[in-house]
Chain length 226, copies 2
C-alpha cells in the first residue's frame, strides 16, 4: 500500500478531473483514498493545498522538460533562430509524453489543467499561473526571434491561440470523435496535426483578409429569407 499522502493525491486527481473541483468534497477524496477525513488537513493544510499539490506534482517536471528542450534546440541553432516547429515541439512534446507515461492518470491531469486555466476566479489560479511565468517569457522570446517582422503583440496573441488549441485538445481529446478516430496512432497524429496547424497560424501573413468586404457582403444579404 502506498502512503496516505500519495493515495490522497491520486484520489484527488481522479475525482477533480472526473467530477470537477468544486463538486468534489474532502469526504469524497478521503473515502476514495481509504484515508481519514482529517488527513487532508494534516498533509496539505486544506482543500486548496491539496489541489495545488496535485498539479505541482505533474506540472513541475513537464515544465522543466519544456525548458530543457528549448535550451537544447537553441544550442543546436547556435546564432540562428530556432525554427518554429522546434519551438512548438519543445512546448508540446513534454505534456504529450506525460499523457503516454501516466496513462489514464495523465489524461485526467490535463483535464484539470484545462479547467483551472478556464476559471480565473479559482483561488489557486494565481499559483497556477506562476508555474508558467518562465515558460511564457522564454517561449515568447524565442518566437519573437524567429518572427522578427511580426509585431510582438501579435506574436503574443498567436502564441495564446496555439496554447488554447493545445489545452482544448487535452481537455476534449478523449471525447471528440475526430481526435481519437484511430486509437492506435491517435496521439502521434494529433501531436503532428497540432504542430502543423500552429506553425501555419503563427506564420499567417498579415492583412491577408479583408473584414470590411465581408461586412459589405453581409449587409447586401441583410433581410434575406432565412
Amino acid at each position: 500500500m502506498t502512503d496516505t499522502k500519495t493515495r490522497l493525491l491520486d484520489a484527488a486527481e481522479a475525482l477533480f478531473a472526473d467530477h470537477g473541483i468544486a463538486a468534489t468534497s474532502l469526504r469524497d477524496i478521503t473515502t476514495s483514498a481509504k484515508a481519514n477525513l482529517a488527513a487532508v488537513n494534516y498533509h496539505f493544510g486544506g482543500k486548496d493545498g491539496l489541489l495545488e499539490a496535485v498539479f505541482d506534482r505533474r506540472l513541475r517536471p513537464v515544465n522543466r522538460e519544456r525548458l530543457a528542450l528549448l535550451d537544447a534546440f537553441e544550442s543546436a541553432a547556435g546564432a540562428e533562430c530556432v525554427p518554429l516547429e522546434q519551438i512548438l515541439y519543445a512546448n508540446l512534446a513534454p505534456p504529450f509524453r506525460t499523457l503516454e507515461e501516466w496513462g489514464e492518470s495523465g489524461q485526467r491531469f490535463m483535464r484539470i489543467v484545462a479547467r483551472i486555466n478556464a476559471d480565473p476566479s479559482s483561488r489557486i489560479h494565481e499559483a497556477f499561473l506562476r508555474h508558467f511565468d518562465v515558460i511564457r517569457t522564454r517561449f515568447l522570446a524565442a518566437l519573437g526571434r524567429t518572427l522578427p517582422d511580426l509585431d510582438p503583440t501579435e506574436v503574443e496573441r498567436r502564441f495564446h491561440y496555439s496554447l488554447a488549441a493545445m489545452l482544448h485538445t487535452f481537455c476534449w481529446g478523449a471525447q471528440i470523435d475526430c481526435l481519437c478516430a484511430h486509437p492506435s496512432d491517435h496521439r502521434e497524429r494529433v501531436f503532428t496535426s497540432l504542430i502543423e496547424y500552429a506553425v501555419a497560424g503563427l506564420q499567417a501573413p498579415r492583412h491577408s483578409i479583408d473584414v470590411d468586404e465581408m461586412r459589405r457582403l453581409e449587409v447586401e444579404f441583410e433581410g434575406a429569407p432565412v
Copy 2:
C-alpha cells in the same frame, strides 16, 4: 424596475462569471437581484434551470445569427465553395457583436461559456452542447467543401483548434495585456487577428513538419547540462 425573472438572470450571469458557477449560491444571487430566495425555484425550478436559462438567453440569438450569416455567404457563393475567411467570419462575427452590444454583460457571458465548455462534468454540459449541434454540422460541411483535399478528420480537428482559440480569447481577453494593449481598436484587431490565424491554420500543408527529425535532435542533446 425590471421584473424579478430578468433581475435574477442578470444577477446570476454576473456572479457566475465573476466567481464561478459552483462558488455562487442561490443566496448570493437572490440577494444581488433583490429577490427572494424562493424565487429561483419558482421561476427556474432550481439552480441548474437558472444556469441553463442564463446561457439560453444569449446563446440562442448568437447561434441564429451564425447560421444566417453562413446562409448568406453560401447564397453569395452560388455553386462555388465559400471562402475560408467567410466561414470563419460567420462563426466569429456574431459573438464579437454580442460583446460590443451587451458591453460588460456580454464579456461576462462569454466567460461563462468558456467555463462550461472546459468542464464536461457539469450537469448542464449536455444541454450546452446541444446548442451547437446544428452549428457544428453546418460549419463542418462548409469547411469540408472548401477544403476538399483535406481528410475530414483533420478538418474537424482544425475546426476545433480554431474554436479553442476563439473561446480562449473570450475568456482571457480582458486579462491578457497583448489582447487589450490598445483599448480603442482592440476588438477589431483581435477579431482580424483570430481570422488570419485560423485561416492560415486551416490551410496548413500536411506533412510539412518532420517530427522524427526533432526527436533525433532531442536525443542528441540528451543529458546536456541544463
